[in-house]
Symmetry: C2
Subunit: 494 residues, 2 copies
């Protein structure tokens, strides 16, 4: 059967993607700086080879023939995903794909020290090159797929998502959030700060204990340290990272819980389809929903902190305590503190979408050419003043240089964070409705109830269905902002 | 020019080899056990792709055309190396190359826990499969290259080395060593043991301090922990490993110094030829000479331990001391202790070659079929009794299962260890003759004198010349055992 030949070819692509994933993880966690140039070359070659394999004429022929063979639903979905990827790969010349990969690797490597030194000029030129190659790529995809350049990029991170879906959701959030933020800040209950310093080993021990409690399989994954927390590797070996702030243990703890949500999705993908497109995670919005359902919906709740408080105390203090600042009620208030700040990854649930909307506006403008890289810092400052009342003039490190995405060549990625938050709220509302004992289970440290529901309704489905269909089937409703806004109201403004 | 096209194609091979090297390092240092199956598949695919690229008909055509173009010595050597590799690659079907890679990865993964459990039966079947695939590979190479199967394997690790070179050297050592060992043990000066336990962080600090002193570039490399010490990665990013024994700090210290010797060779290879065969290390015998010149010739000497004693004391005790067992004279005696033991990697310079000769005899018999895997443990026991007077009956972990090589598919590799020792002695003898201040420099902690000589005479030459020519040019003599035996006499029997 043509299907079998197609499947076999994609196993090879899967193996090269394994290499790519592990080398990227290594670059961010282990690689000494002097290894950067060789690594960028090697990754670019892998990207080019994967691109060539995915774009090979035989893939198109085999997929067309396979589509006419008797296939089950998974096989049929796999063929459709392979065809879509084939079209995308053929639209972009290999030279352009490898040039973008290499420019992104090198720019990302330059960004790390430049951010530390608040040195915008050190990377502005390389960023301009990355944006230029991204525009070229987006245009080539748009021509082939008959869509807008930005939609062509969005589709790479969350297949099927379009600006026409993004704009109304962002309009609703733009309209609702500023008033919610004002109310939340005005109503904020008093809390006691917890003073550090906290050294790394106990923070790491805490992170590992909570990962294990949530269901992370350490036989198929790791926890390490990187400049920017992420979930890397692949379903066979899922590697999450964090960074440690000795003044605030919650920063790393919630980063670990967030990345653990991503990892549980990866570790729960259908093993029988490993390496095939239908066995992959569906898209980054659905992926982000899995990190945020853990971090935001579950782990910043009172029920979770009732469970976690003794573990937190034992790891960080060496014993449990009745001291007021360590009690679950105070921890819950600390975990739900609302503050207008500079940094997206440190932002609370209420202000986070505004950080994303800001980036969405700027990256669409970068892509259509109405904004240049040279003007980007000023545009960032203006948007920060507008949405959050803060100025980043001259402070590049906490402004336009805070996120790796654009420097690494990721444009069209940011909206998936907020779609993830919206999906997470709707999924968790449905889970609570269907699992009446869920809150008690969480308070008792039993996360298997939720994990089984997510495994059945999300993880085990791989890429069989579009994200919107996964959400609709799991929750009984089309995706909307209602559950998210209800959650924000209940947690922050009740 | 055809040469340029050939060069360009080999850059791609170099990039895939970078991926292969880093994934292999990761497998041994970082990978959780559950990631093993996917890693073995991915590595086998990479091996197959590298094999296909190296065996492509166009490589043969381009190399033939390039050989007729005006080339400098480096380019000409590069073309010759590419042609040799092309012939070897074409001799082995891709399916066989990937099957051996995968069987070796899986057998190596199974070996780790099996060795810990002293469970020979758990890996004997997989080892049999690996040996079978190795025999098939060796026969295919032998047919194509018109040599014996064992010579075909030797040639992969040390190009040009043949059994006809190995046998007379091993005969001389077989004849000389037993009497030297008897004399050394009888004449052994008294020493004071140093009792542990030594925790890992100070041992690691000591290792890093000595690596830095010898000239290891941490901007282009790392030190980590693995089951078995090795030097991995590539010249852009050279990664050495050790393991820590809390009862004996010297075990890890000398492992680190040994691997640092390997790493200095890698880091000193000619940058302009990175990724091309002529820019690679020449062979494993020459490689081993660089680890052994550091570990054995330099670092087990009184001059080195005069320098290192205060560093050792400061790292392990937190202060310097005059206590007798920590003084350089006692450290030197501990570092030159001779003992008949079970474990090759723990063996002293005098008994080490007997461990290698034993393996050489057994692996040549495995390859020609006169010894089966089922009979291997008994044959090992008999050889250990003959050469070292020790029995390993029933003790697989300290017998036939102690080394990873055969389980990972490396047959023909062991002789390079002893050729390395012989080369190291001859190189160091020449260096001392040409650099009269060398011993004083070492005693003063200045290793740049030796490193510059090695850079000029060995490292920077890459694979321009055969190993035997490198040795003859650097030392003014053909390779022989005289310097090695003189060194052993002076250090152990004086």
């Amino acid at each position: 059967m043509s299907y079998d030949a197609l499947h076999e070819r994609y196993q090879r692509i899967g193996h090269l993607e394994h290499a790519q994933a592990m080398l990227s993880w290594d670059e961010a966690t282990m690689m000494p700086s002097g290894g950067g140039a060789a690594r960028a070359e090697a990754l670019a070659t892998l990207v080019g080879m994967i691109h060539d394999l995915a774009a090979a004429p035989e893939i198109g022929e085999l997929a067309e023939a396979a589509a006419n063979e008797p296939l089950d639903a998974w096989q049929a979905a796999n063929v459709a995903l392979i065809q879509r990827r084939w079209q995308r790969a053929r639209a972009v010349p290999t030279d352009l794909a490898t040039a973008l990969s290499k420019a992104g690797s090198l720019c990302e490597q330059a960004w790390r020290p430049a951010r530390g030194a608040n040195d915008w000029q050190a990377v502005a030129g390389q960023l301009d090159e990355v944006i230029g190659l991204t525009r070229e790529t987006a245009q080539a995809l748009a021509d082939a797929l008959d869509c807008s350049p930005y939609d062509a990029l969005l589709d790479d991170y969350e297949p099927g998502l379009q600006q026409a879906d993004v704009d109304p959701v962002f309009d609703e959030l733009r309209a609702a959030l500023p008033a919610l933020i004002d109310r939340a800040i005005a109503n904020q209950p008093p809390h006691s700060a917890i003073a550090g310093p906290f050294s790394v080993p106990p923070q790491e021990q805490l992170g590992r204990a909570l990962m294990a409690a949530l269901g992370f399989d350490f036989e198929r994954g790791r926890l390490d340290v990187s400049h920017h927390p992420f979930c890397g590797g692949d379903p066979s070996d899922t590697r999450i990272t964090t960074r440690y702030n000795d003044a605030d243990f919650m920063e790393s703890m919630f980063a670990v819980l967030h990345e653990t949500g991503h990892a549980l999705y990866e570790q729960g993908l259908p093993a029988a389809w490993r390496g095939q497109p239908v066995g992959d995670s569906r898209g980054m919005a659905l992926h982000e929903s899995q990190s945020l359902i853990m971090e935001m919906q579950v782990c910043r709740s009172r029920a979770f902190l009732d469970f976690a408080a003794p573990t937190i105390q034992r790891c960080l203090l060496g014993e449990t305590t009745q001291a007021a600042q360590w009690r679950p009620d105070n921890l819950t208030r600390l975990a739900a503190k609302v503050e207008r700040g500079f940094i997206r990854v440190d932002a609370d649930e209420l202000t986070y979408p505004l950080h994303v909307i800001l980036r969405y506006e700027l990256e669409t403008a970068l892509l259509d050419g109405s904004l240049t890289v040279a003007d980007l810092p000023d545009a960032w400052d203006a948007a920060m003043r507008r949405y959050l009342g803060l100025s980043t003039a001259g402070d590049f490190a906490n402004g336009v240089m805070q996120d790796v995405h654009w420097f690494g060549g990721l444009i069209g990625y940011f909206p998936t964070y907020t779609f993830g938050a919206v999906i997470a709220a709707q999924l968790f509302q449905a889970a609570k409705a269907r699992l009446p004992s869920l809150e008690d289970a969480i308070r008792g440290g039993d996360f298997s109830v939720l994990l089984e529901w997510l495994r059945a309704n999300v993880h085990s489905r791989g890429s069989l269905l579009p994200t919107m269909a996964v959400v609709a089937e799991a929750t009984g409703e089309e995706l909307g902002t209602a559950a998210f806004l209800r959650h924000l109201n209940e947690r922050y403004c009740a």
